[in-house]
Amino acid sequence: MAAAALLRRSQTAARALLSPAPLSSRLVASKPHSSSPAPPPPSASTKTFSIYRWDPDSPSTKPHLKDYKVDLSDCGPMVLDALLKIKNEQDPSLTFRRSCREGICGSCAMNIDGDNGLACLTKISSESKGASTISPLPHMFVVKDLVVDMTNFYNQYKSVEPWLKRKDPPSPEGKEIPQTKADRAKLDGMYECILCACCSTSCPSYWWNPEEYLGPAALLHANRWIQDSRDQYTKERLDSINDEFKLYRCHTIKNCTHACPKGLNPAKQIDTIKKLQLGA
């Protein structure tokens, strides 16, 4: 049917070319107006994604990797674009967290080709041979597909008491607590943390002791408050994490620094805490 339509169109097109036709008709796209959509042209840039799938609503199926083919010429450059394209066009049941699409919220943290990162900041690797494997953050309980249970991670962050604590009474006029530029510069490299959990879930020490070891993210934030010149509970903060398990499960594996999508260095901050513990 479509082939016949194409033949008829080419005859009319030939006749149109012979006679001086207005410019607009020649520029009309010659897509066949058949009821079935034309199959997508087999482009050289098709990438296969092997995505981890598990549905709690069908408990008898084991977790497995499912392959999806995506035409890269019709897709944005980042892995999140591919995931959304798969969800929109091929499989609406694919479940993952996402929000800002610009690498500031930390929702789309997942394991892409073995490395933890944010899906919205990780470019799709252009070598077409070999599938890209997308799996949830390693050694975390899976709620569904790529969504993991972050409650333990958030509780560890809460346990660090990530707020300003002062012993002096607050200023009566509600004025701000002054801080020099040099003191504020000490917080650079720590305040940018978006709590995506890429670092903590890349640490083998955190894999083997997730309940006791705080993990690089929580320790980075602990250091952010220890280093803050306005905070007056520095000694108490240092004492609360001066624990065999909470701090000293860190063996400077440095996977955290490699994984951080914002380019932060949690290993350096943990090192700073350890040095302060020696002095205190």
């Binding site: 709690p56 609503d57 408990p59 008898s60 084991k62 499989d91 609406p92 309980f141 709620v143």
Partner: protein
Amino acid sequence: MTTRAKLSGIQRQALALYRGFLRTARLKSPEERHRIESVVSAEFRENARNVDRRNFVYIEYLVRRGKRQLEQLKNPDITGLSTLEINKVSSIP
């Protein structure tokens, strides 16, 4: 009392969770307590009947989900618990 087979760790976790729910229900108002008890016992009994006892992945997932729900219920500001029935229509070919 007949001697019962030794309960495995995961069986003890499920029973502890059930006990936790019933104890928390006791702290709420009487009519709410009755509703919590009926909802929780219905869900536990249904899962005990339908879920394969060797499917540890799913049982652990249910225990984790139950623990999280119990933490929320323990909060004194929470007055009750209600359920919604969704008729699942499978649309994926």
